[in-house]
Amino acid sequence: TTQMFQETFVKVNENFKDMFGKLFGGGTARLVMVDEGDVLESGIEIIARPPGKKLQSVSLLSGGERTMTAVALLFSLYMVKPSPFCVLDELDAALDDSNIGRFVTVVKEFLANSQFIVITHNRQTIGAANVLYGVTMEKRGVSKIISVKFNRHQAPPGKAAPAAA
């Protein structure tokens, strides 16, 4: 329905402005309906301006800036419609160390509502994990999982979670 969509759009937009600021340590961003008059059909435009830079089309953003902007939008949607679990496959591929740090901080805030399964090659992301599932192919072509747990300071989603490690 038009009203439901409109309300969702407003909520996601609010989240997006905050999320972007958190992930970029500043800057501004918002979502815009291409055709304000046609809420039922209008496409959605993304406006994003990293801190210190002038507003330009998102196409001119760097690889890492585009990933962070997409992550901001992704988490804005999660806030409106949380999922019990999320699987993120090498989201950090284009990110430098300080962006991975901010990304990981945001993921940890969401742990209260969802499980996060993160596929990664990055040391920093691995360092933020509570458990590692190491996938190996000792027999060539046959996958096997080995799990390594680090600490048990956190509780399952929905239960009271003591301060994360």
């Binding site: 019990p84 999320c86 090498e90 989201l91 596929i119 509570n130 458990v131 190491g134």
Partner: protein, 165 residues
């Protein structure tokens, strides 16, 4: 509701029975290129009813049955089971736990089961309606695809918002 366990056998490179069990905090999946990490993410999408083999990198569903190596014979079936726990609130069910299973055979025939009872894909989709669990959700972010929400057309991007409404 949380993801308690993922179990698979014969799915892509996971020839032998493999289990991934819930742990609190961030769960990181790690390992060298080609060892099977993204295949785990594919298994989750597949058991939740993904209908497009192409979106899981195959041409047809039988591509996902372990097809052998220098040292292992091909198998006749692929099976993945996903178990969710503490479902009462979200699924309004008498079950405390729900296990969703999907199989495919070399003939191309497939099966779906809920708690070991055969059912249709529709039943699984209906079960998870509005819980955020499913293949449409942005909570399953594939490798290399994070940029897509930025590069897609404003009209396509809208679908994501409609899904969240």
């Amino acid at each position: 509701m949380y993801l308690k366990r993922l179990e698979m056998v014969g799915f892509k490179s996971f020839a032998e029975r493999t289990k991934l069990e819930y742990e609190p905090g961030i769960m990181a999946i790690v390992g060298p290129n080609g060892c099977g990490k993204s295949n785990i993410s594919d298994a989750i999408r597949w058991v939740l009813g993904e209908q497009s083999a192409k979106s899981l990198r195959g041409a047809g569903m039988t591509d996902f049955i372990f097809n052998g190596t220098d040292t292992h014979k091909p198998m006749g079936m692929a099976e993945v089971s996903l178990t969710l726990a503490e479902c009462e609130a979200s699924l309004g069910m008498e079950y405390h736990e729900v296990t969703v299973t999907r199989r495919v055979y070399r003939s191309g025939e497939g099966e779906y089961l809920i708690n070991k009872t055969p059912c249709r894909l529709k039943d699984i989709q209906r079960l998870f309606m509005d819980t955020g669990v499913g293949t449409n959700s942005y909570s399953l972010m594939e490798q290399g695809r994070i940029d897509r929400i930025l590069s897609s057309h404003p009209e396509d991007r809208r679908e994501v918002f409609e899904e969240a409404s």
